[in-house]
């Protein structure tokens, strides 16, 4: 029984880490339903494990992405101001929101926001690289230029980020959602960099991957104290996630941006529906 539980946790972790590293999120979308519905783990342990899994995906995948210079470190760090502040605000608000019984409303609203962003992503589905837009003043101030070598296109791709303040605002929301719900901040980060900053999909994915570890680390101390982290469940899942993230990080750069985007749109739909269901059930 213990062995079976161990293997299922490990395999679930590998799947979460693999998908998370390719799409730029922490894998809670896979882990939370698998643990809670599939394995009968209480929701608080599932959420705690997912938070640990997010840090594992982030460090595991980003160690490769940063070294391969796909991640834009400056863009990631400049946006972490908003995600960390948002996560602090969200975790402080969580108790109050829970008390007034508004948590289910937030789940539903977040689900609707995700589903309504599908269209914007879908419109860009055939673009291998984003349409060039003129740099704005924030491009220069925050040094948002970059380039990476694309293994699928077999050439160096130059790009620059724009609309830093707009992106930062979405990142604040991503932080709050992460602090409140413990899930979903990676998806909003990818959307922010894709839609507001106009970055190539691979840069958005890997920079989100780089950032989610920092956002998640903000919430861990509270989760630790509240007892949401169960050593066996979180530890085994973390090992699986690190393996999955490693495999994913070796694969990403040879994929097409279009393929990664398609996977991301599927995740958007699944997570949107998952959030609405959690709100109304």
């Amino acid at each position: 029984m213990v062995l079976l539980f161990f293997i299922l946790l490990l395999v679930g972790g590998i799947a979460a880490g693999f998908i998370g590293s390719l799409v730029g999120l922490g894998g809670a979308i896979v882990l939370v339903p698998l643990l809670s519905i599939g394995l009968g783990v209480p929701l608080y342990y599932a959420t705690g494990s997912a938070l640990i899994a997010t840090i594992a995906t982030s460090s595991g995948a980003a160690s490769a992405y940063v070294k391969d210079r796909i991640t834009n470190v400056k863009i990631g760090m400049s946006l972490e101001i908003a995600t960390t502040l948002g996560a602090i605000a969200g975790s402080l608000l969580a108790a109050y929101i829970y008390k007034i019984g508004a948590l289910s409303i937030i789940f539903v609203v977040f689900g609707i926001v995700l589903l309504s962003s599908v269209y914007q992503s879908f419109k860009k589905r055939k673009l291998e690289l984003p349409k060039r837009m003129r740099p704005d003043s924030t491009t220069r101030i925050f040094q948002l230029e970059g380039s990476y070598y694309d293994e699928y296109l077999k050439r160096r791709v130059k790009y620059h980020g724009i609309r830093w303040f707009q992106s930062e605002a979405i990142m604040l929301a991503a932080g709050v959602i992460s602090g409140l719900l413990g899930v979903g901040s990676g998806v909003l980060k990818v959307l922010s960099m894709d839609q507001a900053m106009n970055l190539p999909q691979k840069v958005s994915t890997t920079t989100s991957n780089f950032m989610i570890g920092v956002t998640a680390a903000v919430g861990t101390a509270i989760y630790w104290k509240l007892g949401y982290i169960q050593p066996f469940i979180a530890g085994t899942a973390a090992i699986g996630v690190l393996i999955g993230a490693y495999i994913g990080s070796k694969k990403l750069n040879s994929m097409r941006n279009v393929g990664i985007r398609t996977l991301f749109i599927v995740v958007l739909v699944v997570l949107g529906v998952e959030m609405i269901l959690r709100g109304i059930l």
Partner: protein
């Protein structure tokens, strides 16, 4: 060679490898030294286990590690995992400071302060 990407990539890699080793050691110890923990293996490895992080104090970490209690090894491995992003932000502050990149020294310092507040101050109010 010592550009920021190289430093961050290696910091993350070292943190990940260290936490994998310590967590795996903990899982192995649960099997090999079952008497070390107050809980039985089936009680620890259950979906609805009563054992969780609220019962693990950092002050008892050393004792737990000394008695080869697998639970403490796993929790130490998770703590290393959590500390890894903090370490990479800290190193970035130093790097940008050394490069005299004022705006990014400020940005990374704010992120670091946010993280430290969240980890050490906020839990006091929960």
């Amino acid at each position: 060679m010592t550009d920021l990407e190289y430093i961050i990539g290696n910091t993350l890699r070292i943190g990940v490898i260290a936490s994998i080793i310590v967590i795996l050691a903990g899982l192995t110890l649960l099997l090999l030294v079952p008497g070390a923990s107050r809980y039985s293996l089936t009680a620890i490895a259950s979906p609805t286990s009563k054992l969780n992080s609220s019962l693990i104090r950092f002050s008892s970490m050393l004792n737990g590690l000394e008695s080869l209690d697998g639970v403490y090894f796993i929790m130490l491995g998770l703590a290393i995992l959590i500390a890894t992003p903090v370490a990479r932000v800290l190193l970035s502050v130093f790097w940008f400071f050394q490069k005299r990149n004022r705006i990014y020294t400020l940005i990374t310092a704010i992120v670091l302060i946010n993280m430290l507040v969240a980890i050490f101050v906020i839990p006091l109010f929960i």
